[in-house]
């Protein structure tokens, strides 16, 4: 099979970047990593890339293929070069390039270290030298997250990290959930507090690209959702992000629709919202935001409530792998009602 690839080369000293075209001949079942190996062995030994296991478990070889991040070793090249296409191979994003396809991973490790990525064993963990039974189902909450291979594909794709480089990001937050969700961990509340601060869980824009690109099916965005739900459940909900999420639920429950104009007040607080009044007025005038009164109310509240029940009924693993609210929703009822006497019959 004929393979043509554009590989992004960059000089480690001058930082100069260019695309180089390689034309190769490979067997049909070859992977993209096989292509890179062949280039290095036979065409140009100066091409730099990381690799080791060649079976998708060491997490070394994430690259961007025509802009999409994937592991080179898990990418059969036949699909890429169909119809004579010559894909462009570039280093992963959101991390500084060292040379060619090699990026510096240290910023990613730093964020992982920031979440204290190790178990703080609690009473459920037993003593050294003895086994403590734990129902399998309780551990299922973190099985998916335990599959993370630290490849950085999610980091590469995360727009929130591009805009806000200090955001902890999907990889570190997967690790965070791996521990928060572990029934043996005894530091859940302090962990959640730490994660709910600036550049924490609420900085995620919910673009879902990390879920889409993770080669191990870890679904980082779901882990972040679970962290959010647990944080709210533990009443660690002062962050705007948490308030924002809570208002979505309350609003949908009470009137079946999102009341956007109230959302601002609920999320930012009254004082802060005053500052936004000129903006709000402009939005109202242009029809970009509905007026707060009369209240936006769905004709039939049943579907919205039904949806809420479905979501609330999910356990920690979440139905169909898509977890949005979980047990936390049970608590939101309770938290919201004293200050929010908007009963179901309210007009």
């Amino acid at each position: 099979m004929q393979v043509r690839l554009h590989v992004q080369r960059s000089d480690p000293v001058t930082g100069e970047t260019r695309l180089q075209l390689f034309e190769l001949e490979l067997p049909r079942e070859a992977t993209l990593l096989d292509c890179l190996e062949q280039i290095k062995d036979e065409v140009d030994g100066t091409l730099a890339f990381r690799r080791s296991c060649r079976e998708g478990i060491c997490g070394s070889c994430a690259v961007r293929i025509d802009g999409r991040t994937a592991l080179a070793c898990r990418t059969p090249v036949a699909e890429l070069v169909a119809e004579g296409h010559a894909p462009t191979i570039a280093p992963i994003g959101n991390l500084p390039v060292v040379r060619d396809l090699v990026v510096e991973m240290e910023p990613m490790w730093q964020k992982m270290r920031a979440v204290e990525p190790f178990l703080r064993p609690g009473p459920d963990c037993g003593l050294d030298g003895r086994e403590t039974p734990i129902p399998s189902a309780r551990l299922d909450a973190v099985r998916k997250e335990s599959l993370c291979i630290n490849c950085g594909a999610c980091v590469s794709e995360c727009d929130a990290m591009t805009v806000s480089p200090e955001f902890l990001g999907p990889h570190a937050l997967v690790k965070a959930w791996r521990l928060v969700g572990d029934p043996r961990d005894d530091a859940v509340a302090p962990r959640l507090k730490g994660l709910s601060g600036e550049h924490g869980i609420w900085e995620c824009t919910r673009c879902y690209l990390c879920n889409e690109r993770c080669p191990k099916g870890v679904d980082p965005r779901d882990a972040i959702a679970k962290l959010g739900a647990e944080a709210i459940a533990a009443r660690i909900d002062r962050d705007r992000g948490a308030r924002h999420a809570k208002w979505f639920v309350t609003s949908a429950r009470t009137t079946g629709w999102l009341r956007e104009s109230e959302l601002v007040v609920r999320t930012l607080g009254l004082a802060f919202s005053f500052a936004k009044i000129p903006l709000a007025l402009r939005l109202f005038r242009r029809g970009k935001a509905p007026l707060p009164l009369p209240r936006h109310r769905a004709r039939d509240l049943a579907p919205a409530r039904e949806l809420r029940h479905i979501v609330a009924g999910q356990d920690r693993r979440g139905a169909l792998g898509i977890v949005q609210g979980e047990r936390a929703l049970e608590r939101i009822d309770f938290i919201c009602s004293p200050e929010q006497p908007v009963g179901e019959d309210e007009p």
């Binding site: 480690p12 000293v13 079942e29 992977t31 290095k40 062995d41 036979e42 140009d44 030994g45 100066t46 730099a48 890339f49 990381r50 690799r51 080791s52 296991c53 060649r54 079976e55 998708g56 478990i57 060491c58 997490g59 070394s60 898990r74 059969p76 500084p96 060292v98 040379r99 060619d100 090699v102 510096e104 991973m105 240290e106 992982m112 270290r113 990525p117 190790f118 178990l119 064993p121 037993g126 003593l127 050294d128 030298g129 003895r130 086994e131 039974p133 734990i134 129902p135 399998s136 551990l139 973190v142 099985r143 335990s146 599959l147 993370c148 291979i149 630290n150 521990l179 572990d182 043996r184």
Partner: protein, 567 residues
């Protein structure tokens, strides 16, 4: 960008390699009060321990009657009586405690219905004793050890390629390493050094091992004058995917996968009527090779059938295996059996050590696949090697820390060592004409597979030694394309090839001298039987003054006298 790095540094204990063995050793050395650092050519979680799928053995007795004694008896038998029984007994007795500790550190093992650690049956085991985490057991261990490393803030010299042990009059003073990310030679002094560099499978083409498994630690030890033990014993895994060589986990057979030949016959019936597909690996690999040699193969492979598992079990328990077959062979095991053949998998031999990982040089230790304790003897049982990395990693870490703390003063390396190293690498980088390493590497791999594979015989091994001489000669003019400093993996790969060639010569030389068939060393044509009278002993290879020296060492026997090994 990476900041500047100290050209020289010094620690009590330096661990080379950050797989399961290296990290476990570092954690223990740290907890024993030593200032410890790791040196690894890969980031720790990229180590090949992560590829282990099946699980880790300890006689917990959760899934049926079991005991450390039974575990030991199975291991002795599995080793074809070449394992040292004192080491085996100690290993089996300590294994359960280590499992509980891993669990306490957060390892996410599978559970049974009562919430206890689940255990499954593995080849050559008389009881279900393999603790596992779906089919990502090694991955889970590697992550949890890395977490513990971070908890202790242990220093890791990441992407440092260690390439020489510096040995002086009073023992080892440290190592020289090439800093891959920044370029340049680093001198790392230490009062004790632990080698934990893993296996050497890449000496063969078609191996289950990662690209990085090039036997560096064994070759470094050899060049430092240390003896390597039982190098002739390489385990061939019976189920590696064709054509990639990737491993199809033994758990597939443990859970009822069938091996078929071209006629659709369950051929294991003729080789191991009782254990069938669950017989020890060497038995299965030989059966397959015989089927292939006698023409009952399908294009050089046998068929592994797991269609009867059904969709649910396949997806829940073997999604990784299914994915592997789909990606690398284009076959869905739900619909078709997958093509497999024996491939180089595990090196039983390695740096000769005692049960504390200590080598002949008092302050050089080794643990994990790089070492030969000898726990596995002539053949390793599945699940024992991950446990080995933990038990003996821990023991080596403790012993090295104690050794280091006993040594007074601070560690230091003579500046000349670094200067010599720099000069040597400069010479290699200045060469403008020669042969690319990849061709030598590919010829090495193919010829080892052919002449030193599942079956061996005198003529083939002699031919292989001649060929290796030729390859070594060509290697003297090896050409590194890349002359840059930063992330020069071309240079590293050329250095690795040098190690592999040295190692191959030692392996074949030891194999030639072992005139018997035992465990993974099989000579059906010239010496088909085990010969306890002459060869119930370990081979030791040394390299002194460019001369290979072979000697023997007795096997330690405590309880189990050699018997015929049948399954």
């Amino acid at each position: 960008m990476y900041g500047p790095e100290d050209v020289e540094s010094s620690h009590d204990v330096l661990v080379i390699g950050a797989g399961c063995a290296g990290m476990r050793a570092a954690i223990e050395a740290h907890d024993a009060g030593a200032d410890v650092a790791l040196v690894s050519k890969l980031h720790p979680t990229r180590s090949h321990s992560g590829a282990a799928r099946g699980g880790i053995n300890a006689a917990l007795g959760n899934a049926g009657e079991d005991s450390p004694e039974r575990h030991a008896a199975d291991t002795v038998k599995g080793s074809d009586y070449l394992g040292d029984q004192d080491a085996i007994e100690l290993f089996c007795a300590e294994a359960p405690g280590d499992i509980y500790q891993l669990e306490r550190w957060g390892a996410l093992f599978d559970r049974d219905d009562e919430g206890r650690l689940a255990q499954r049956a593995f080849g050559g085991a008389g009881a279900p004793r393999t603790v596992h985490a779906a089919d990502v057991s090694g991955h889970v261990l590697l992550q949890v050890l890395y977490e513990q490393l971070l908890a202790r803030e242990i220093r890791v010299y990441e992407e440092y390629f260690a390439w020489r042990l510096v040995v002086g009059a009073t023992g080892c003073d440290g190592v020289l390493a090439w800093d891959l990310a920044r370029g340049g030679v680093r001198a790392l002094a230490a009062k004790a050094v632990i080698l934990a560099t893993g296996g050497s499978g890449r000496v063969y083409c078609g191996s289950t091992n990662a690209h990085a498994c090039t036997g560096d630690g064994m070759a470094m030890a050899l060049r430092a004058g240390l003896p390597l033990e039982d190098l002739e014993f390489v385990q061939f895994h019976p189920t590696t995917l064709v054509p990639s060589g990737l491993l199809v986990t033994e758990a597939v057979r443990g859970e009822g996968g069938l091996l078929l030949n071209a006629k659709g016959e369950r051929f294991m019936r003729r080789y191991a009527p009782e254990a069938m597909e669950l017989a020890s690996r060497d038995v299965v690999a030989r059966a397959e090779q015989t089927e292939i040699d006698e023409g009952r193969d399908v294009n050089g492979s046998l068929l592994l059938d797991m269609r009867h598992f059904g969709r649910e079990k396949m997806i829940e328990r073997f999604h990784g295996t299914r994915d592997l077959a789909l990606t690398y062979a284009g076959i869905d095991p739900l619909e078709q059996p997958i093509p497999v053949r024996p491939g180089a998998h595990y090196h039983m031999g390695g740096v000769a050590t005692d049960v504390d990982g200590r080598s002949e040089i008092e302050n050089v230790f080794a643990a994990g696949e790089v070492a030969c304790v000898s726990l596995h003897g002539a053949n390793r049982l599945g699940g024992n090697s991950l446990m080995e990395t933990i038990v003996f990693g821990r023991r080596a870490g403790r012993a090295a820390a104690e050794q280091a703390l006993k040594r007074s003063g601070s560690a230091g390396l003579a500046p000349s060592a670094r200067v010599d190293g720099e000069r040597e690498l400069a010479r290699l980088l200045e060469r403008h004409q020669g042969e690319r390493p990849s061709r030598i590497r590919d010829e090495l791999g193919a010829s080892m597979h052919e002449n030193f594979g599942v079956f061996r015989e005198e003529g083939g091994m002699r031919r292989q030694l001649e060929l290796l001489e030729n390859l070594r000669e060509r290697y003297r003019h090896v050409l590194v394309d890349d002359r840059g400093e930063i992330f020069n993996s071309d240079l590293v790969q050329a250095l690795e090839l040098g190690y592999q060639l040295d190692l191959a010569v030692c392996m074949v030389s030891a194999g030639l001298e072992r005139r018997e068939s035992r465990g993974a060393h099989s000579r059906p044509k010239d010496f088909p039987a085990r010969d306890d009278e002459n060869f119930l002993k370990h081979s030791l290879v040394r390299w002194s003054n460019d001369w290979l020296d072979l000697s023997w060492k007795p096997v330690t026997i405590t309880k189990w006298q050699p018997q015929r090994r049948t399954y």
